[in-house]
């Protein structure tokens, strides 16, 4: 077996069940909610100032934070279900050098997360674009800004999926992995900020705003590295776990 075969096999795993479609359905619903909000929603004063400038619209488009969380769940389920269904046996029989198999799996999950992030941002932008003609405002964001949102969301999706995939390989139980991903990405960050307010710029949601071009609490490169670090820690734990523990 070679790495390309393993990667293609892992990608096939992701595309031969209904899970990706379920996630795409969730992204479509979220985009529809955004589009509906633009079409009929107002600010407290009855105006539509929340879409009145390019910056406002970019804030609406910025999907990277959601991509991190949604792809995190995707990665956690994709990795943990391999253990739940025992399909992990075939994986490690094909590639008994475990780090090679894990690398292929995490790469596939990361690519899946990137696609989800891209789709999430694209659907959101599309839904808002469709709704804007129903308001007095046009599409104000520049092509460069839209591109940054799409790239940021793809990157965040990939990172989130790898983070979730790492958790899934460590926990090895779908329910437990999903819970751990939710704790890591949603519940723990606010608690960490309460304990140490200086960390506010470094939690995933804040970093996602930076890479999307919506906030500048840190530099973009620093934010990219920080998001990558959030993903790398569970991935490295997974590598340790997969070598340290029996597969079944």
């Amino acid at each position: 077996m070679n790495s390309t075969d393993l990667l293609r096999s892992e990608l096939r795993k992701l595309t031969t069940t209904r899970m990706p479609l379920s996630f795409l359905a969730v992204l479509t619903v979220l985009a529809a909610i955004n589009g509906t909000a633009v079409a009929i929603g107002t600010d407290m004063d009855g105006s539509k100032t929340f879409i009145s400038t390019a910056a406002d619209q970019i804030s609406l488009f910025a999907f990277a934070g959601n991509a991190l969380m949604i792809a995190g769940l995707f990665g956690a389920i994709a990795a943990a279900r391999e253990f739940g269904h025992n399909t992990v046996i075939a994986t490690y029989l094909a590639a008994p050098r475990r780090s090679k198999a894990l690398l292929a799996q995490m790469t596939a999950i990361g690519l899946g997360g990137a696609v989800l992030g891209l789709a999430g941002a694209g659907l959101t932008i599309g839904a808002v674009a469709i709704s804007l003609p129903m308001t007095n405002y046009g599409f104000l964001a520049s092509l460069g800004e839209v591109a940054q949102v799409l790239v940021a969301s793809s990157f965040a999706g990939a990172a989130g999926a790898i983070l979730g995939g790492g958790i899934g390989n460590v926990i090895r139980n779908t329910g437990g992995a999903v819970t751990a991903a939710v704790v890591t990405l949603i519940i723990a960050p606010p608690l960490i900020i309460q304990l140490a307010s200086g960390t506010a710029s470094w939690v995933p949601s804040a970093l996602a705003l930076v890479v999307s071009g919506v906030a500048d609490t840190t530099g973009v490169v620093s934010a990219i590295l920080a998001i990558a670090s959030w993903a790398a820690v569970p991935a490295l734990l997974a590598l340790w776990s997969i070598h340290r523990q029996d597969i079944v």
Binding site: H85, I89, Y92, A94, A95, P96
Partner: protein, 304 residues
């Protein structure tokens, strides 16, 4: 079919495996020779599946080594083309089709796509059924799919954990014919099973373990020849005497014992010295089940 050159004996040498403080395999040593079907027998929880998992590098050993053709599984040049494996009865994603399951494994192991169809055909799984989601399969169909996956790489070694479980009579016959043909072709075939009547018709050699320890190895004929069938009005007393003489005796029904570890002459002599009548004493040919139960009886049961 021309026999292929097979230099892949399976060797388990001094294998010990612990989970916490519990020793599930204890200094286990045996060899599985090519060109034969070898039955791997033992009660539930005796360590058969764990031994297979260690052999396949899915679990680590605390002590000892396992090799396939002199190499660890992970060191084989193309392990999936060398060893075909059926391990867990339900190792599928229920939402995936059987065909996709095989395509994924074929892709990972570098097998050409045509092998998927060939393996489905050999395993006797209908191509239309292979297009359905595995969640709709019967246990027998899942077993056939597992077997198809094991045969994808046309491997010279098969390691099969309870492959007949859930198969209908025709499926069991097909499996038997397939494994016998593979062995005749020079392949190494290790089969664990609790269907002893099937094993008796299928295997050449037998490895029996209990509580993670080797109980006995040998051919089916040797194994069944090692036991004797005794009918006596005093089975409990005779069992005590035979136990003291180093045999194992299992009371199977009423006045009957299955005795292993002593030949017929010595069983007769032991009964005579104890002043016990014997109404029947014969080699216990034909019942692997009785021998198996006698060999793997818990210490508290021995001598009953």
């Amino acid at each position: 079919m021309t026999a292929r050159s097979n230099d892949h004996p399976l060797k388990v040498d001094g294998l010990t495996k612990r989970y916490g403080n519990r020793t599930v395999i204890d200094n286990l040593t045996f060899t599985v020779e090519p060109g034969k079907v070898t039955g791997f027998l033992g009660p539930n929880g005796s360590g058969k599946s764990t031994t297979m998992k260690v052999l396949l590098d899915l679990a680590s050993a605390d002590h000892g080594t396992t090799t396939i053709g002199g190499r660890r599984y992970r060191d084989l040049p193309n392990p999936a083309s060398t060893v075909g494996v059926v391990l867990e009865p339900n190792a599928f994603h229920p939402g995936r089709t059987g065909r996709d399951h095989l395509c994924i494994i074929a892709q990972a192991t570098g097998q050409p796509r045509r092998r998927v169809d060939e393996s489905l055909s050999i395993a006797g799984l209908d191509p239309d059924a292979a297009k359905r989601r595995v969640g709709t399969y019967s246990l027998g169909m899942k077993q056939r799919l597992s077997l198809a996956a094991a045969l994808l790489g046309d491997p010279p070694v098969l390691v099969l954990d309870e492959p007949a479980n859930g198969l209908d009579p025709q499926g069991i016959r097909d499996l038997r014919d397939l494994l016998r043909a593979r062995a005749a072709n020079g392949d190494t075939v290790l089969v664990s099973s609790h269907l002893l009547t099937e094993v008796q018709h299928l295997v050449d050699d037998v490895i029996v373990i209990a509580d993670g320890r080797l109980v006995t190895t040998g051919t089916i004929d040797e194994l069944t020849g090692k036991s004797a069938h005794v009918r006596t009005p005093c089975p409990a007393r005779l069992a005590e005497l035979l136990l003291a003489a180093g045999a194992t005796a299992q009371q199977t029904a009423g006045d009957r014992l299955v005795v292993t570890g002593l030949d017929l002459d010595k069983i007769g002599d032991t009964a005579h010295r104890g002043g016990l009548a014997i109404h029947e004493l014969a080699p216990n040919a034909g019942s692997l089940e009785d021998v198996f139960l006698a060999l793997t009886a818990q210490p508290s049961q021995k001598g009953n």
